[in-house]
Symmetry: C2
Subunit: 300 residues, 2 copies
């Protein structure tokens, strides 16, 4: 069990391995500021890929020391993405971070069948949360990448996320398939799909975890709520991984936890040979640092 995101950061720091972080399209003042702080943490050694003149100019404007960074000059964001993926593929970098380019541009290169670095067909976003109202760190997936995953894609999302939990030391994670209700209702397709996924799990086609659902969020995180509704299982009140039906409910849950729940968060894209860090400008410095630490933990 992991009690705080700080634990993940401390573990990453203890390794004292400076991971090489390939930053695709680094010509952005927010990225450069964040990298300066990350560099101080001793966790990573950035490799900046992008418009070299612009990177130098931006760094100069704010006196950001980048003389120790490698810079690879490129002509386009597509070339930055391609080059960053190449560095990972050839073992010259350990972690991949999205800079000033669209997620799509980066992922096209990651998923390229000949030159890409996908470990399988499906990548997904995993967000970890540390909430003052829950007893351990838990994940929400997929709140940021797969818009409306079908059942097969959802099974892949679950397996990716379970594998990630095992990597960070949580054996046999408990997975809750979130819906609005516990009863399978043909008018609520999410509930039908959740029951089918649980069935697949019973047939051992999704391994190394406990999966239960459909269930509403209150059951996943509260044993008392489960008792009120006479729901018997191993997941209620102790879920590690919350699987949302589609991106909108995931995004609303993510924002509710961070903006209206006092939760801290760390997020990465998993399913490629290395974790991919997609920070957004709105992320706090703390969240960016935790995301890097999580990526380091997962890259081992």
């Amino acid at each position: 069990m992991i009690f705080s995101l700080r634990e993940i950061l401390d573990r990453a720091k203890k390794k004292k391995l400076k991971q090489k972080l390939a930053v695709a399209a680094a010509e952005d003042i927010y990225i450069l500021r964040a990298l300066a702080r990350l560099h101080q943490s001793g966790l990573v050694e950035p490799i900046l890929i992008g418009n070299k003149n612009l990177i130098n100019e931006l760094a100069k404007q704010e006196n950001i020391p980048i003389s120790k960074y490698s810079i690879i000059d490129t002509k386009s964001t597509q070339e930055s993405a391609s080059k960053a993926v190449e560095l990972i593929r050839d073992g010259h970098a350990d972690l991949l971070m999205k800079g000033m380019l669209s997620t799509k541009t980066l992922l096209v290169e990651v998923l390229n069948k000949d030159t890409g670095i996908a470990a399988q067909n499906l990548l997904n976003h995993m967000a970890l949360f540390e909430s003052p109202y829950y007893h351990k760190v838990f994940a929400v997936t997929d709140a940021a990448m797969n818009v409306a995953p079908d059942k097969i894609e959802k099974v892949a999302i679950i397996q990716n996320t379970v594998n990630a939990f095992i990597k960070i030391g949580v054996k046999l994670p408990k997975v809750a398939l979130l819906t609005a209700v516990e009863k399978v209702n043909p008018k609520m397709l999410d509930t039908v799909e959740a029951a089918a996924i649980v069935e697949q799990h019973y047939e051992s086609r999704i391994a190394d975890c406990i999966i239960e659902g459909p269930m509403a969020l209150d059951l996943a995180v509260s044993k008392v709520a489960a008792e009120h509704k006479h729901f018997i299982g191993n997941v209620p009140g102790d879920a590690d991984i919350l699987v949302v039906p589609e991106i909108t409910s995931g995004n609303i849950l993510y924002k509710s936890l961070t903006c209206l729940g006092g939760a801290k968060t760390a997020g990465v894209v998993i399913g490629a040979k290395v974790p991919i860090i997609l920070t957004s400008r709105a992320d706090s410095d703390e969240s960016k640092l935790y995301s890097i630490a999580l990526a380091i933990e997962l890259s081992q």
Copy 2:
């Protein structure tokens, strides 16, 4: 602006009107316990409708004093629902509360064209929240009743909820149409629908409010998040009413606020001639009391 649910309770208490509360299918120990506490609050005078023998037996088992309550004996839950609605229709009761019967059984009677008490075709659930992370009481709709409302139904939900806000003293409430992103994306139908609703609002077909969207939850409740995303509007950081795309995301938001956000809540169904109180066994006593107080405020 309303800062706390206690304010709504205090206002209801100040009126010193004992509202007559028709309880449809009161033969349930949880309902009787809750009513005993509500009765002490001085807010309501319950009229119990249901299996009289069973009601008396349950009350005796736990020494719940019900001798001062009116009891109307019925033979079925359908009859209880019908009788409760009749009391409201004929002015013999002021508020309607769901007891030990399905929501559907009750609503069929409420919505009956000849004998029902619907003020219009659409009823919706409105949940108020008081969050330690927000500066005022806000609403989420519809997290509990309409499964997948279409655009026309959503407009009715918004108008019902705006009218309710005006009744509780919030003039020109700010409405946020929640989705995962701010950009209209044909692959995310919620965003297309939200833009169409905002268009209707500009044409003044939804009155007495400010409506903006599509927007993610962080923008609705945080000005800083809106600035990061260069979203300009009157709603960001100050939303009163959060409209969710469908019931699953609504339910997840509701449960996230109460189970993982430290929020207090009150909920009623609006759109009938009187507010309908649908408490669930899992609701806290405090939440049940706030819901009754809210119903009293809305019934004026």
